[in-house]
């Protein structure tokens, strides 16, 4: 199976989830081997996901945690 750039783009959510079929995975890898632009794009998208995981998470300040715990009767 040979795919074009736009077809590759539509496979990316499942590519990142690791849920592509074997055929689709092979097609994606074949495409990356010949298309530098998609390869770069996927590297950058992977970078977005890494940034999101590392810098996107927030922490509720502990005084607020204590206050909320008390207010809902958990302490």
């Amino acid at each position: 199976m040979k795919i074009q750039c736009d077809q590759l783009a539509s496979l990316l959510p499942e590519f990142f989830d690791g849920t592509l079929s074997t055929d689709q995975t092979d097609a994606a890898l074949d495409h990356f081997a010949t298309c530098e632009s998609c390869r770069l794009t996927v590297d950058e998208l992977e970078g977005v996901r890494t940034l999101a995981g590392e810098y996107g998470r927030l922490e509720l300040p502990s005084d607020a945690k204590d206050r909320i715990r008390r207010s809902i009767g958990l302490d």
């Binding site: 783009a9 989830d17 940034l51 810098y55 996107g56 998470r57 927030l58 945690k65």
Partner: protein, 172 residues
């Protein structure tokens, strides 16, 4: 029928496990610390009150984030003033280590990421935060947001592409 409560369904433990994740989703939607705290409080009031109705037919994370998302949407619909607190101080403490340069870059990245996430539409933002920030599976995100998995995938593609364009200089 024999009633038994799974230890992981203990309300105190659920609070400890999910409080930061719920806060992250809430803040990303309402973009204001105090409103986000209200969302956390309302969410866990509902979790404690209705844990008995959770039937274990889906992951508990999806069940809790579904409550949280609805609360966050209710709060954003109700408010009129423009939000925005600096996100820097809220970034998880574990990122604070390292040299001064690393801390400055980490702070800058957190701010730029926050701004970029803020440009996404609410449904796209929620899908992105749950999947790529909080790490839920695509299936669980679909349950939490009450949409199909293919809708989640479309939103994720849109979010990631938008952030790729906006954050390009940090991705090279």
């Amino acid at each position: 029928m024999h009633q038994r409560r799974e230890p992981q369904l203990d309300p105190g433990r659920l609070f400890d496990t999910f409080v930061d994740g719920v806060y992250t989703l809430a803040y990303r939607i309402v973009r204001d610390r105090h409103h986000a705290e209200d969302v956390v409080q309302e969410t866990f009031i509902k979790v404690v009150r209705s844990i008995g109705t959770y039937r274990g037919d889906g992951p508990i994370a999806a069940w809790i984030y579904r409550i949280a998302y609805r609360e966050a949407i209710t709060v954003t619909r109700r408010r009129t003033e423009e939000p925005v607190d600096p996100v820097e101080a809220l970034v998880r403490a574990e990122r604070a280590g390292g040299s001064v340069e690393e801390q400055v870059l980490a702070g800058e990245l957190a701010i730029r990421l926050d701004e970029a996430i803020g440009t996404l539409t609410e449904p796209v933002r929620a899908a992105f935060v749950l999947r790529d920030v909080e790490g839920l599976s695509t299936a669980d995100v679909a349950v939490a947001l009450d949409v199909s998995e293919s809708a989640v995938k479309m939103r994720l593609a849109r979010a990631r592409e938008s952030l790729r364009m906006q954050l390009e200089e940090y991705l090279r």
